[in-house]
């Protein structure tokens, strides 16, 4: 019996999901409140368990908890926390199956946490499925709404296709190396098999196929262009707390998986095989995401396109691989930092959308008119999140963009230029919402806005995070820099 201590958080979270499920079944008549608090308590305990459980290596390297894993585990737990805390309004609209809702979120989070700490391709794939299958169900949770069912179905079909493509890529890697364990030695194994599989020049066609398949598979999870078609419809149709969870945690799952695979096993092929490929996809995501977001009139769709653009910014950090003394080791660390900054701002923005929908019953950007008069607090806090997403200092989003661009500059200056220019476009649509909220006065609302307690908690925590990470990013920067030392650059 191996010492299961490093796996404690995942085991606990899994058990807690069952507890929540049973609790939901046994107390049907109660309001969703007790379930929300129960779930939140579970997430907090899991968060405390992460440092207690410590780092370690289980099952011969299949399950590895290192600083990199721990960082993303915290990101996923925070995302789940905020999504659950902003679900109060949704619970009121659901007549049944409340327990399952939270249990599914916890199961999906468990999958993400496992994903962050695996170094074996089959386990990685299974964890990814554990992450996404609950999300299919969650996206379709509003059975009374056609849009939600459509979202679930679209997500299911495209998600399944992308998983299949990913699996094919994984099988090619296995074919090239004879192992599914992600390790630096993989590069050597691939190089040894090159003479047999060599198609032309230095390019290994089988490896190219494997890389393209895997990039496509992870690209779907990340909603990178051109694998982004599902995102706007799913984001719009899904219940808003789930949309916020999708936009951050599901994207984070894609980031953590692609980073593990490519950084551990394939850094040697960065120059010829995948660096430029991912850079082009990142540029496409920034351009398409930002330009299309300008045209949206529904705020959930707008945030969906903006999240596509943010996937592009994250990937700028991802492709900036350190190379000795020429390229500083900022890239991988900036990836982590960006996710943290994006987590607070995006979850916060969605919490504002939920708060607005609850009080004013709309997702249309034009209905935000005059919000600064009717709910000044909500307007200020929304402005904060939007400015952070737009990358205006001294908020977290600016620091993240700065770090990512700093990392990307020496290898892909053109990509940084694209990123900077598109962030001017991004400012246009974020500022447009601010304009609606502040510049035009709109109609005076007669009823006083009301927010439930867990939602207020979300808003406050995300706002504090956005400001604090922006003004004093040092602790997170240092941890991120430490965390990426696990990779063999």
């Amino acid at each position: 019996m191996p010492d299961l201590r490093p796996m404690l958080p995942e085991l606990f979270l899994f058990a807690w999901a069952i507890v929540v499920l049973l609790f939901g079944i046994s107390r049907k008549e109660r309001s969703g409140d007790s379930l929300i608090y129960l779930t939140l308590v579970g997430l907090v305990i899991t968060g405390i368990l992460v440092p207690i459980a410590g780092y370690g290596n289980l099952f011969g390297g299949t399950f590895v908890v290192d600083k990199f894993a721990a960082f993303f585990q915290i990101v996923f737990l925070l995302a789940a926390f905020f999504a659950v805390a902003s679900s109060h309004e949704l619970m009121k609209k659901l007549s049944a199956d409340r327990g399952e809702f939270f249990a599914l979120i916890l199961l999906s989070t468990t999958g993400m946490m496992l994903l962050a700490s695996t170094l074996e391709l089959i386990t990685l794939y299974v964890s990814l499925e554990l992450t996404t299958i609950p999300l299919f169900v969650l996206a379709a949770y509003r059975k009374d709404q056609l849009g939600s069912s459509e979202a679930g179905l679209k997500y299911l079909i495209l998600g399944a296709v992308s998983s299949a493509i990913l699996l094919y890529g994984i099988s090619l890697v296995y074919g090239l190396t004879g192992t599914t364990f992600l390790q630096p030695a993989m590069s050597r194994l691939i190089e040894q098999s090159v003479p047999m599989l060599l198609a032309s020049g230095n390019v290994n066609m089988a490896l190219v196929m494997a890389i393209v398949m895997m990039v496509a598979g992870f690209g779907f999870k990340l909603a990178l262009v051109p694998f982004h078609m599902w995102a706007p419809d799913v984001y719009e149709g899904a219940p808003t707390p789930i949309t916020s969870f999708l936009s951050v945690a599901s994207k984070g799952a894609g980031v953590v998986a692609i980073a593990r695979v490519f950084y551990t096993a394939l850094p040697a092929f960065h120059d010829v095989h995948w660096g430029t490929l991912v850079a082009v996809l990142a540029a496409a995501a920034m351009i398409v995401g930002n330009i299309t977001a300008v045209l949206q009139s529904n705020i959930k769709r707008m945030l969906a396109f903006s999240s596509i653009a943010h996937a592009g910014y994250v990937m700028v950090g991802f492709v900036a691989l350190p190379q000795g003394s020429i390229v500083p080791p900022y890239g991988p660390a900036s990836l982590l930092f960006y996710m943290m900054a994006y987590l607070f701002a995006n979850m916060g923005a969605f919490a504002c959308v939920i708060a607005f929908e609850k009080n004013y019953g709309s997702y249309q950007i034009k209905d935000y008119q005059g919000l600064s008069k009717n709910s000044p607090g909500l307007a200020i806090i929304m402005t904060l999140f939007l400015l952070s997403l737009a990358g205006i200092p001294p908020l977290a989003g600016f620091m993240a963009k700065y770090y990512v661009f700093l990392a990307g500059w020496q290898q892909f200056p053109w990509l940084v230029i694209v990123g900077l220019l598109t962030s001017v476009i991004a400012l246009f649509y974020y500022a447009n919402i601010i304009m609606q909220m502040y510049f035009s006065r709109g109609e005076t609302s007669l009823t006083k806005a009301h927010y439930d307690r867990p939602l207020i908690l979300t808003l406050i925590l995300t706002a504090v995070g956005t400001v604090a990470v922006g003004i004093y990013p040092e602790p997170i920067l240092r941890f991120a820099t430490e965390a990426v030392k696990v990779f063999p650059f």
């Binding site: 500083p328 600064s372 400015l387 205006i392 200092p393 001294p394 600016f398 700065y402 770090y403 661009f405 700093l406 500059w409 020496q410 940084v416 230029i417 900077l420 220019l421 962030s423 001017v424 400012l427 246009f428 500022a431 447009n432 601010i434 304009m435 502040y438 510049f439 004093y472 990013p473 040092e474 920067l477 240092r478 820099t481």
Partner: protein, 498 residues
């Protein structure tokens, strides 16, 4: 580290903003006075700073240095030299004046004053930062309150003007960011400390210097604004509320020229020399173009706005002159000193012009020059103020504008005789548009439609008088300002010529 006077100066308005936000939103009087109080504290501090400043050296003074984000070698680094001290004073002075001018704002008073204080903090931060990252943060922070101030309290096309201003300036800023990234990555060990970058400046390769110089040029030229990057200016100036126009013309434009002198010049000496001649030509174009467009304006505020383009052209022309005098071996600073004098003087004069335009607009609700006539008999006090600043603006001797333009011409003639010769035409043109404006508005037959107009009130007189006094004082006795900036400018020219 001694008493943190600079931090105190920058963050007092931030505290003021927090306090104002907590006040009752209907108690206008309290909000106004509390905000003004919080802007007077930095004003007093800037006077203390100027008094305690040692103008015999070009070294940084009142330095505050602390580690902020060591992972990316970012510091909290403040300090002042001859370039910053007068600008900090101008900023605090114009902020206080603008707040007094804003007492007539009755719409969303609390938000207005809160944003204004945030704006002041951002501007002061720009002039005091010596860490590149910190500089950029303040540079951007300023945009947000400006966006709100134009967008909420502006004129009929406020939304358009606000977003145009925001996007235009951000577009410039991203070029500066790229420049910062390049300089940061080209130094070993990586640094964002401006003083270190200046020391290492001449070591950057020529291609890097030229490229980064162009990037910084875009960022700063948009702010100045240098032709052809000036198109945001008329929209923003005209749509902005009076007090914001004062700040835009008085302080924001100076950030562009300040950026050149603080950053581009000493850090990129090769690039600066390389582009000196085109720079002088752009200055000339600005002078003539701005003056010609001003002549065509029917709207008084637009006229003043375009005259800024022309006046900042003198700055650019003066800035393009730097060489080591062969005979004395001393750096030739007359051009730069003229440029700096023009920065300061333009802040006073154009700030006052916008203030006075606002005074008239509040009463008449129009700014069309042709609609007025013979106001001199109806509003003698107002006319006296307006005429005084009009004369200052066209460069009448005895006013600060004359000293500045004269120094620019004296400075630039030895190096660019032809350009200087052509630039002098600008003086004639500005006399033409200013005098025509004065004639049509204040002289001639009184238009009886305006018989209900009221005279400029005490509050407005209190706001504008310090500007008039300073304009005259510097016109008659310019020495204190020149003494303050000389050592720093000599140092800059030496660095550019190394």
């Amino acid at each position: 580290m001694g008493f943190p006077i600079l931090s105190l100066m920058i963050f007092t308005p931030v505290v003021g903003m927090a306090v104002v936000m907590m006040l009752n939103k209907d108690n206008f009087k309290l909000i106004r006075w509390v905000s003004t109080g919080f802007s007077i504290i930095p004003l007093i501090l800037s006077l203390i700073l100027a008094a305690g400043y040692d103008s015999s050296t070009s070294a940084m003074q009142f330095v505050e240095k602390a580690s902020w984000i060591p992972s990316l070698s970012i510091q909290y680094f403040l300090g002042v030299d001859g370039l910053s001290v007068p600008m900090l004073f101008l900023t605090t002075l114009l902020s206080t004046i603008s707040l007094i001018v804003s007492f007539n704002i009755t719409n969303r008073v609390k938000e207005y004053f809160a944003f204004f204080l945030l704006l002041e903090a951002g501007m002061l931060g720009v002039f005091a930062s010596l860490d590149f990252f910190l500089f950029y943060v303040f540079w951007e922070v300023m945009l947000v309150p400006m966006y709100f101030l134009i967008g909420i309290w502006g004129g009929p096309r406020k939304e358009y003007a606000a977003i145009k201003f925001f996007l235009y300036t951000l577009f410039g800023s991203i070029f500066m960011l790229v420049g910062i990234l390049i300089l940061y990555l080209s130094t070993t060990p990586h640094t964002l400390d401006m003083m270190e970058l200046i020391t290492k400046g001449s070591a950057f390769s020529h291609s890097i210097q030229i490229m980064v110089w162009v990037f910084f040029f875009v960022a700063f030229a948009i702010k100045v604004p240098i032709f052809p990057f000036h198109t945001w200016l008329p929209d923003a100036h005209v749509e902005a509320p009076t007090a914001v126009s004062i700040i835009l013309a008085g302080v924001l434009l100076k950030m562009g020229t300040y950026g050149f002198l603080r950053i581009s010049y000493p850090m990129l000496p090769y690039g600066t020399n390389y582009f000196a001649y085109p720079f002088a030509i752009l200055g000339l174009i600005g002078i003539i173009y701005g003056a010609l467009v001003s002549m065509a304006q029917k709207d008084l505020k637009k006229l003043v706005a375009y005259s800024s383009v022309s006046h900042m052209g003198y700055c650019v022309l003066g800035m393009a002159v730097f060489f080591i005098d062969q005979k004395s071996g001393q750096p030739h600073i007359t051009g730069l000193a003229g440029c700096y004098f023009q920065m300061f003087s333009h802040g006073l004069i154009t700030g006052a012009m916008f203030l006075l335009v606002g005074v008239l607009y509040d009463r008449a609700h129009t700014r069309e020059i042709a609609a007025f006539g013979g106001l001199g008999s109806k509003l003698p006090v107002y006319t006296a103020f307006m005429s005084a600043f009009a004369m200052a603006s066209l460069g009448l001797p005895g006013m600060s504008g004359f000293v500045a333009e004269f120094m620019v011409f004296i400075g630039s003639f030895p190096k660019y005789p032809v350009i200087t010769g052509l630039a002098v035409i600008g003086v004639v043109l500005s006399a033409a548009y200013i005098l025509r404006m004065v004639q049509r508005m204040f002289l001639g037959e009184f238009n009886t439609k305006w018989s209900g107009l009221t005279e400029i009130n005490t509050r407005e007189i209190i706001a504008v008088t310090p500007l008039l006094l300073l304009t005259v004082a510097l016109g008659v006795y310019p020495k204190p300002l020149i003494t303050m900036i000389s050592a720093t400018l000599q140092n800059i020219v030496t660095q550019v010529m190394r």
